[in-house]
């Protein structure tokens, strides 16, 4: 690794030569990693777009060649729009549920945990060390038709289909669970930065605990709320593991459609069109959301 030059050296040297050398070192440090990202992250979007416009080679099924078939978008969207809507609805509900579940824990760790703080944070990420697929699969056992949760909910007549497993409820439950740490950690990071004296001041000015929370703590934690909801929503909208393992064929999401079209049907143009639309939809959603929430400092 190249030695790092002292930060004040250029200022002292002042001359252009040193500045140029510093600039060159920066590019040397950046080049390998950024090339990797450009070639294997950025350029693939171009190939994805080109693939989405390809047309079949006449007489050869499963082979495609260059084309400008923008109609691929129309046909794939007419076929798969329910999966799209479902992905955004499921991910949206899961994100809201995750926010409701995560906030008390993040608040507890930031304000009440004292010296147990770092241990509790380890416990928050620890479940992620066990395989994502197995954790999702475990919900099959937890939500089983004869299990305690389903029987309790059935006794209260809360389930439209008399079961949780193989319904949309199970998919949303799985999504909520799986992406919860992505909600807890940014919330904690935002809450932890809050100056306690501000909340005390609200109390001194006769604000009730609820008012103090609504007017002081909640607004100050908004950057964490924005970051957390994005970090939960984006992977949840693209996920297809939960829909595949916990839902029925009626609960499939757009990720399932992309995967089956790419890997099983080998219908690359359709799969690429779906993937491209998903990315585009998420980008638009994220940017309008960030603008609305008024937070630009995210990472």
């Amino acid at each position: 690794m190249a030695p790092v030059l002292p930060a004040s050296a250029t200022a002292a040297a002042g001359a252009g030569a040193a500045a140029r050398r510093r600039g060159r070192t920066a590019y040397v440090l950046l080049l390998p990693g950024m090339t990797w990202l450009a070639v294997f992250f950025a350029i693939p979007f171009v190939t994805l777009f080109l693939t989405s416009l390809q047309q079949p080679v006449p007489g050869r099924s499963g082979q495609y060649m260059f084309g400008l078939e923008f109609s691929n978008y129309l046909t794939s969207m007419t076929e798969y729009w329910p999966q799209f809507v479902r992905s955004f609805v499921y991910a949206g509900i899961a994100t809201i549920l995750a926010l409701i579940i995560a906030y008390p824990l993040a608040y507890f760790i930031a304000f009440k945990a004292g010296r147990w703080r770092s241990l509790l944070l380890v416990l928050v990420i620890a479940p992620s060390f066990a395989s994502f697929l197995l954790r999702t699969y475990a919900w099959k056992t937890i939500l089983a038709d004869d299990g305690p949760i389903t029987s309790t909910l059935n006794a209260l007549h809360l389930l439209p289909d008399d079961r949780v497993l193989n319904t949309g409820i199970a998919v949303v439950a799985g999504l909520t669970y799986n992406f919860l740490p992505f909600m807890i950690l940014p919330l904690y990071a935002a809450l932890e930065k809050i100056d306690h004296r501000l909340i005390e001041a609200a109390g001194d000015l006769y604000a009730s605990a609820i008012t103090a929370f609504r007017k002081v703590t909640w607004p100050l934690s908004l950057p964490g709320v924005v970051a957390g909801t994005l970090l939960t929503f984006i992977p949840a909208a693209g996920d297809y593991i939960n829909a595949e393992l916990l839902g029925s064929t009626k609960d499939r999401m757009i990720g399932n459609a992309i995967q089956t079209n790419f890997i099983e049907f080998r219908d690359y143009p359709t799969a690429s069109a779906l993937s491209f639309v998903l990315m585009f939809a998420i980008l638009i959603l994220v940017f309008t959301y960030i603008r609305r929430a008024g937070t630009e400092e995210l990472v």
Binding site: V124, T141, I282
Partner: protein
């Protein structure tokens, strides 16, 4: 009642923590189960078979080793590349900084299915054979960003006076880096590498798109899910979980001791 009001957040917080561990408990418990049929979903009978016969199911240990190998290779590469970028971002001014930041942020904000499928589109168009190489390429790609963010945070949090002191004591830039900067950043780099390995080891979606016929541990589980996951998979996942937890806890103890030693 007042006690409840004061401790409500704590009670809910603990309940959420318990909720986070319910599936873990299920995974561990079912590793000691002797499943009744093909599917290891309900408790039947206690058995140590999965633990005494860890590799008893064809392919399970092979896929486990494949995941470890790919994890090590991609982590090493991504840690080196990402650390270099983090140094450039924190220590140098250069043109194109904001587009660099954007290109690092975007992989973390892109759904895996989009990254996996677009990379597959690239490999298909190039007629590049799918396998361990393409999976490793993909893993390096998505780990780099996490390494950059982690190492960058560590670099920014460093006390600049420590390096100034080294220079005041006539240390050459090389010596300052070797004896001051690098040792101070090292915990961040190690943390980034551990995070990278766990991301690589557990990745399913991106790997599945680019694996061809290669079977990693998550891909093995995915395939087994259709015909019943053997308890051996639960046992192996339990081992991974415990080892990772131990590593993190040891790291916490070391940094706690260091902090105490500095205060003393």
């Amino acid at each position: 009642m007042r006690w409840l009001g004061r401790n409500l957040v704590g009670i809910i917080g603990i309940a959420v923590l318990v909720y986070l561990f319910v599936p873990i408990a299920v995974i561990i418990a079912l590793s000691f189960n002797k499943p009744e049929g093909k599917f290891n979903l309900a408790w039947n009978q206690f058995s140590l078979n999965a633990w005494t016969n860890l590799c008893g199911v064809p392919g399970v240990c092979d896929s486990f080793l494949v995941s470890i190998q790919i994890g090590i290779i991609s982590t090493l590469a991504a840690t080196v590349l990402g650390t270099m970028i983090a140094f450039a971002l924190v220590r140098y001014r250069f043109r194109g900084r904001s587009s660099t930041n954007l290109l690092i942020f975007l992989p973390m904000a892109t759904p895996e299915v989009v990254m996996g499928s677009s990379l597959l589109a690239l490999f298909l168009n190039l007629r590049f054979p799918l396998g361990a190489v393409t999976v490793a390429i993909a893993h390096i790609m998505f780990i780099i960003s996490f390494v950059v963010v982690t190492v960058k945070a560590r670099l920014q949090g460093m006390d600049p006076r420590l390096e100034e002191a080294a220079r005041d004591l006539y240390a050459s830039p090389r010596a300052t880096f070797r004896y001051v900067t690098f040792p101070l950043v090292l915990p961040g780099i190690i943390g980034a590498a551990l995070l990278g390995f766990s991301l690589s080891f557990d990745d399913f979606i991106i790997s599945f798109f680019n694996a061809g016929t290669l079977v990693t541990f998550p891909i093995f589980i995915w395939g087994a899910a259709q015909r019943g996951i053997p308890p051996q998979v639960n046992a192996l996942a339990t081992i991974v979980f415990l080892v990772a937890l131990a590593v993190v806890l040891i790291g916490q103890v070391i940094s706690y001791r260091k902090r105490k030693a500095l205060q003393a």
